[in-house]
C-alpha cells in the first residue's frame, strides 16, 4: 500500500471541493463568465473522480484485473487505436446507424399514419406503451438466428428497440398543437398536409427529439448486447465479451471509453440540432 498517493488524492479531493463550493457561490455579472463557471464545476468534479480513482487503484495496489487505473486504460487506448476503430466501425457505423435511421424512420411514419386513423390510435397506443416498457433486448437471439452473425442482425435489434419510443413520442407530439392554432389553420383553408407540415410537425419537434435522444443510447446498447449472441470476430460487444474472458480488463475499459464517447457525442449532437430546430421553444428563449 502506498499511503502518500492515497493521501494526495484525498487532499486533491478536498481542495477541489472547496474550490467548487466557492465557485458555486459566485454571482458573476456577465453571462459568459457565469456559463464558464457552470462548465468548470462539473469538469473539476470529473477530474476529481479520475484523480481519486487513480490514487485508490495505485495507492491500495488494487489488481488491474479488478479495476485498472485510468492511466493504464489511456495507455491501452492509445496503443490499440486500430482495433478500437475497427470495432467502432463494425458496431457503430454499420449496425447502430443503419438500425437507428430505419427504426426512427419507421416509428415516425407509423405515428403519422396512426394519428390519421383514430381507431388505430386507440388500439395501437396502449400496445405501443406496453412494448416500450418491455425487455425488447430479448429479441436479440432471435434476430441473430434470422439475419445471421454479421451486422444486419444487430441493426434489426436496433430497429425494433428504437421503433416504439419513436412511435409513442411522435403520436404524443402530434397532438401537442393547440385547438386554437388548428382552428386558425382551418380559417386559412389549409389542407391536412399543410397543417401537418406547417403547424403540427414543428409543434411535435420537442417530443420527437426526446425520442431521438432516448433512442441514441438504446441503439448503442442494443447493438452491443446483440453481439453477445453471436458475431463475426470484430465489434465492440464481441471485444468486450472475449476480453472479459481473457481477463484483459483494461481493453474492456477502453471499449467502454469509446462507447461512452460515441454515446455522449451523439447525444450532444442531437441536443445542438434540437436547439437549432426548436429555437422557438420556451426553454431555449431568453
Amino acid at each position: 500500500m502506498n499511503g502518500a498517493l492515497v493521501i494526495g488524492a484525498v487532499v486533491f479531493w478536498i481542495a477541489a471541493w472547496l474550490v467548487n463550493s466557492w465557485l458555486a457561490r459566485l454571482r458573476p455579472e456577465s453571462q459568459t463568465v457565469g456559463r464558464l463557471i457552470n462548465l468548470a464545476i462539473p469538469a473539476l468534479f470529473g477530474v476529481t473522480l479520475i484523480v481519486l480513482w487513480e490514487g485508490a487503484t495505485r495507492g491500495f495496489n488494487i489488481p488491474s484485473v479488478l479495476l485498472p487505473a485510468p492511466s493504464m486504460i489511456w495507455d491501452r487506448i492509445t496503443a490499440s487505436l486500430d482495433i478500437l476503430w475497427a470495432d467502432f466501425y463494425q458496431t457503430f457505423m454499420k449496425a447502430v446507424l443503419a438500425g437507428y435511421v430505419l427504426g426512427c424512420g419507421f416509428g415516425f411514419a407509423t405515428a403519422v399514419i396512426v394519428d390519421r386513423v383514430p381507431f388505430l390510435r386507440k388500439g395501437l397506443l396502449p400496445i405501443g406503451n406496453l412494448v416500450a416498457a418491455l425487455p425488447v433486448i430479448g429479441i436479440a437471439p432471435i434476430m441473430v438466428m434470422w439475419f445471421g452473425f454479421d451486422w444486419p442482425s444487430k441493426a434489426a435489434v436496433v430497429v425494433v428497440m428504437t421503433f416504439f419510443p419513436m412511435l409513442v413520442n411522435t403520436v404524443a407530439g402530434l397532438s401537442a398543437s393547440g385547438a386554437m392554432e388548428r382552428d386558425l389553420m382551418r380559417t386559412y383553408a389549409s389542407d391536412y398536409w399543410q397543417t401537418l407540415f406547417k403547424l403540427r410537425l414543428p409543434a411535435a419537434m420537442p417530443f420527437i427529439f426526446n425520442a431521438l435522444k432516448i433512442n441514441s443510447t438504446l441503439a448503442l446498447i442494443g447493438a452491443i448486447v446483440a453481439e453477445f449472441f453471436g458475431t463475426p470476430i470484430v465489434g465492440m460487444g464481441f471485444r468486450i465479451s472475449t476480453e472479459v474472458g481473457r481477463m484483459n480488463i483494461d481493453m474492456v475499459w477502453a471499449e467502454i471509453f469509446v462507447a461512452a464517447l460515441a454515446g455522449s457525442l451523439s447525444y450532444g449532437l442531437l441536443a445542438l440540432l434540437e436547439r437549432a430546430v426548436t429555437f422557438w421553444h420556451p426553454s431555449y428563449r431568453r
Binding site: G138, V244, G245, A260
Partner: protein
C-alpha cells in the same frame, strides 16, 4: 368527438380497438410463421421426392419442432407445459426461472430507487452538488452500461461476490437515473407561493422538506418508479447472460439460442413481457393507493 363513459366507453374506446389490433398482430404472426417456415418443409419434400399440397404445407409449418418462427399456439403450449404442468422447484419450470430474475430485479429496483432518492435530496439541498453532480448523472446514462454488464459480473465474481447481488447492482445502476431525475424535478415542484407560506410559518429547512417538498414529489416518484422497474428487469435479464446461463429468464434466452430452441426463446420472451407488465401494473396500483390516501386524487 363525443366522450363515451362507463361500460360502452370501455367497449368502444378500449376493448374493441385494442382487441382488433391484437387479433391482427396474431394473424400477421401466423402468416409469417407459414412464410418463414415454408422453405424448410419444401426442402424436406423435395428431398423425399414427394409433392406437397398447400394444405399440408401450412399444417406442417405450424407444427415444426425447431421452427424459424414458432406459431403462437406452440408458444402458448410451451408456456402452459413449463408453468402449470411442472413443479415450481423444477429447473424446467418457468416459475423457477422467473422467480430468480424477479428477485434480482426487485433487489436492484429497491437499491436503485433508494440511491436515486438520496442523490435527488442531496442535489436539491446543496447548490455545489447540483452544479457538479447533475451533468455527470446525465453523462452516466450515455455509457451503455448493459454492454459492460458481463465485466461487472465476472469481476465481482473474481472477488467472491456472486449470485443475486451483481445482477441487482446492474439493475440498480439502470434504475437510479429516472428516479434521481424525476425526484429532483418533484422536490423542486412546490409553488413559490407555498414555499413563501412555509417561511411565514417560520418553518425550518427540515420541516419544509418533510411537510412540503416530499409530499409534492410523491407523484413524480411513482411516475419515475414505473420507468425504473421496467428497466431494472432488463438489467437483471442481461445480467444473467454472462454467468454461464445457470438460471433465470436471461439464461433461458441464452440456452435457447445455443441449441436452436426457438420455442423456448419465445416462451422466455413472452414470460419476461408478462413479468414487466405485472411489475409496472403493481407500481401503478401502489401509486393509486398511496395518492388516494394522501388525498391527491379523488
Amino acid at each position: 368527438m363525443r366522450e363515451r363513459r362507463g361500460f360502452s366507453g370501455f367497449l368502444f374506446d378500449r376493448f374493441l380497438p385494442v382487441g382488433t389490433v391484437v387479433l391482427v398482430i396474431i394473424m400477421i404472426w401466423y402468416a409469417f410463421t407459414v412464410i418463414l417456415n415454408a422453405p424448410f418443409e419444401r426442402d424436406q419434400a423435395a428431398r423425399a421426392g414427394t409433392e406437397i399440397t398447400t394444405g399440408q404445407l401450412i399444417e406442417k409449418t405450424l407444427a415444426q419442432e425447431r421452427p424459424v418462427l414458432p406459431a403462437p399456439h406452440q408458444v402458448a403450449e410451451e408456456i402452459w407445459k413449463t408453468t402449470a404442468l411442472k413443479k415450481i422447484t423444477s429447473k424446467r419450470s418457468l416459475f423457477y426461472h422467473g422467480w430468480i430474475t424477479l428477485s434480482s430485479t426487485v433487489l436492484g429496483f429497491v437499491m436503485g430507487t433508494a440511491l436515486g432518492i438520496l442523490l435527488a435530496v442531496l442535489i436539491v439541498q446543496s447548490a455545489v452538488l447540483d452544479k457538479s453532480l447533475m451533468p455527470w448523472i446525465i453523462t452516466s446514462q450515455t455509457v451503455p452500461i448493459l454492454a459492460v454488464a458481463p465485466m461487472i459480473i465476472v469481476v465481482l465474481n473474481a472477488i467472491g461476490i456472486s449470485g443475486l447481488l451483481p445482477k441487482a447492482l446492474i439493475s440498480a445502476y439502470l434504475s437510479f437515473f429516472p428516479v434521481a431525475v424525476g425526484m429532483v424535478k418533484g422536490l423542486r415542484s412546490p409553488d413559490p407561493m407555498h414555499l413563501d407560506l412555509m417561511r411565514t410559518y417560520n418553518a425550518s429547512n427540515a420541516q419544509v422538506f418533510w411537510k412540503l417538498r416530499w409530499p409534492a414529489a410523491v407523484p413524480f416518484l411513482f411516475t419515475s418508479m414505473k420507468v425504473a422497474v421496467a428497466i431494472s428487469l432488463v438489467g437483471a435479464i442481461v445480467g444473467e447472460l454472462p454467468t454461464g446461463a445457470v438460471a433465470g429468464l436471461g439464461a433461458r434466452l441464452l440456452t435457447g439460442s445455443y441449441y436452436g430452441q426457438t420455442i423456448q426463446i419465445w416462451s422466455a420472451l413472452i414470460s419476461a413481457a408478462v413479468l414487466a407488465a405485472l411489475l409496472v401494473f403493481l407500481v401503478d396500483l401502489a401509486s393509486r393507493v398511496v395518492q388516494r390516501r394522501m388525498g391527491m386524487v379523488h
